[in-house]
Symmetry: none
Amino acid sequence: MPKVVNQEQYRRELLCKCFDLLAAKGYANVTTRQLSQELGISTGAMYHYFPSKKALFEQLVQELGRQDEVMLKAATEGATTVPERIASLGRCLIEHEAYFVKQAVIWMDFYQHSDPREVLGNPVFQQVDQQYQRAITTALGLAEPKVARFVWTLVNGLLVEQLGSEDCFEFAEQIDLLVKMLTAYFEKHGM
Amino acid sequence: MPKVVNQEQYRRELLCKCFDLLAAKGYANVTTRQLSQELGISTGAMYHYFPSKKALFEQLVQELGRQDEVMLKAATEGATTVPERIASLGRCLIEHEAYFVKQAVIWMDFYQHSDPREVLGNPVFQQVDQQYQRAITTALGLAEPKVARFVWTLVNGLLVEQLGSEDCFEFAEQIDLLVKMLTAYFEKHGM
Amino acid sequence: MPKVVNQEQYRRELLCKCFDLLAAKGYANVTTRQLSQELGISTGAMYHYFPSKKALFEQLVQELGRQDEVMLKAATEGATTVPERIASLGRCLIEHEAYFVKQAVIWMDFYQHSDPREVLGNPVFQQVDQQYQRAITTALGLAEPKVARFVWTLVNGLLVEQLGSEDCFEFAEQIDLLVKMLTAYFEKHGM
Amino acid sequence: MPKVVNQEQYRRELLCKCFDLLAAKGYANVTTRQLSQELGISTGAMYHYFPSKKALFEQLVQELGRQDEVMLKAATEGATTVPERIASLGRCLIEHEAYFVKQAVIWMDFYQHSDPREVLGNPVFQQVDQQYQRAITTALGLAEPKVARFVWTLVNGLLVEQLGSEDCFEFAEQIDLLVKMLTAYFEKHGM
DNA sequence: AATGAATGAGCGTTCATTCAT
DNA sequence: TATGAATGAACGCTCATTCAT
């Protein structure tokens, strides 16, 4: 009788364990030996669950997309007006700052390691990109995807700026500025 | 003495020649052989001008900081009011979009390859960071560095989003949105 | 006791199932996973029946030797004169060309993977070598083993030349030439 | 000023140094580390001269083909009649037995490691095959390539049988038998 | 100042074998 | 008996760096 495990769930656990290490050092700077050590298994076992280092990385990106969709939905569930939603989103980002900063690193790496001519055609990219678009549009209750993309872009800028920094206060401060900007913009231009 | 000046200038030329290649493929994905081929010299000669691959990269980051300071100053020189300065800055970014996007890649790589615990203490980082702070503050004619940082952060977000994309129109559109946001914010909160 | 007979027979069946795969890809290019998949059992089960990959391979060589002895005896049973026996042997080889070519591959592999200093002392080699010697001597009805070895050597050359080729006609043609050569030789030198 | 070397010639020397090791242990059983140690250089230097282990192997096969063409031509140069040529060829084979046996191993390995469906289309194979065909046809002074191929096939059989054996006497004896067979065949069937 | 052959530690990956179930 | 997840040494290969010329 073989050892019974929920392969699917175990693989997700392994992905989560890789997250911190990959975010801290970057895809290219983490070896498979380091990864397997972080996972507490042998390199061979790692290759039992993932066909390659690259595949592991892409599965991680997908997994993060899945988690974020849930998280953002939950964060803005109680808010009804647009200003309230913006504030809720801001609080969520501040609360999980460390997580989102790490994720930005992962996402940068993903861009970097993709062939520029293929990144837009990459099914993983397309899927996750649409996921975020959908999540942010829903979270803010906006009809216009373009503004949603804009907001997410700004957030990414903030996250990227936080790389290597541990100044939590400055991050909150800048999120606050962003919320004020959005509010001022909506007051002036409507919606 | 003149010999030294030539050396200095030659090294800057070499750095500029590396820029496109490093931005296109990323620091970790470019070999020293590829770099020296791009430069049109041997690997040995490259090590004559730069003590290591990493040092070459850091010198490139510094060089870019120097160039940008000049460029931003020139772009906003004619404008006198804050809205004019914002618009001038926006035009400059849109005009040199390709350059700034490549630079964002370089900058990401620099963060990534630095030890997180050392990045803030890294003299190269400190110098270039202050340079940008100063440049953007001067360009916008703001007394408050915090807002300058905020603007630059937002711009970085836009640049990062352009990675792998060639949609020039979307970039201009989002810069336009950013200018409107800033304007609305300043109208409401003053300065 | 009957249990043991079944085990023995089951192991022979397993060996036969491996034959094609090993001949097609070569010992070193077939993994134990591929073998066990071909056998329709798990790797663990395979190791229950064979102590190692190498042992499985050696048992296959022995099994083939056993089968050939029977086959060659049957092929030349009806013939009474030496020319008739030669012709019968030739027909048998042509008829089972694909089988013998595969076997040649197996046999090459066996030599290759043996330590050169030990191959002559290898009991598996000694046993099978004597088996072939005996089989060919009996088949041709020759008193002199040296000529039997010579014939078998020539046949091996033909088989080896067929590796990777699917030109069935050429094989038959060359077997025909071999038969003529043998006949001419026996006519001139007697026996 | 770079170290001046005749790259082409040095590469040939390296190939020759690999010959014994590859023949003794087989392509798949020799590691790149073992090869580079045999060559007296580092693995990196080996990859400076050969793009891959497989390429090194194929270049060795080509180099052997080149050497053999010269050797066979020289061996039969003085002989004028067909029997004399056959005898000369036989002496050449006996004299360089060890070399030809090793070469047979290399050749077997080459077949084994080629995709069966591609071996006939492999340019290396085609070139060397034609080389041998031409060499043996010229050496024996035969108009008919088919008989040349036949002779070479028989010789290959003998060589293969010598794998792992060091019985030089038996080899000479069998070459002698081959010469007698050929002579008897030509006497009976002409040419 | 300049060359490029040479180094060798370290990479991502494979696979014969083991063993808890 | 039988399973297949797990192991880890070893593989082919890369590349930042050095150094004899």
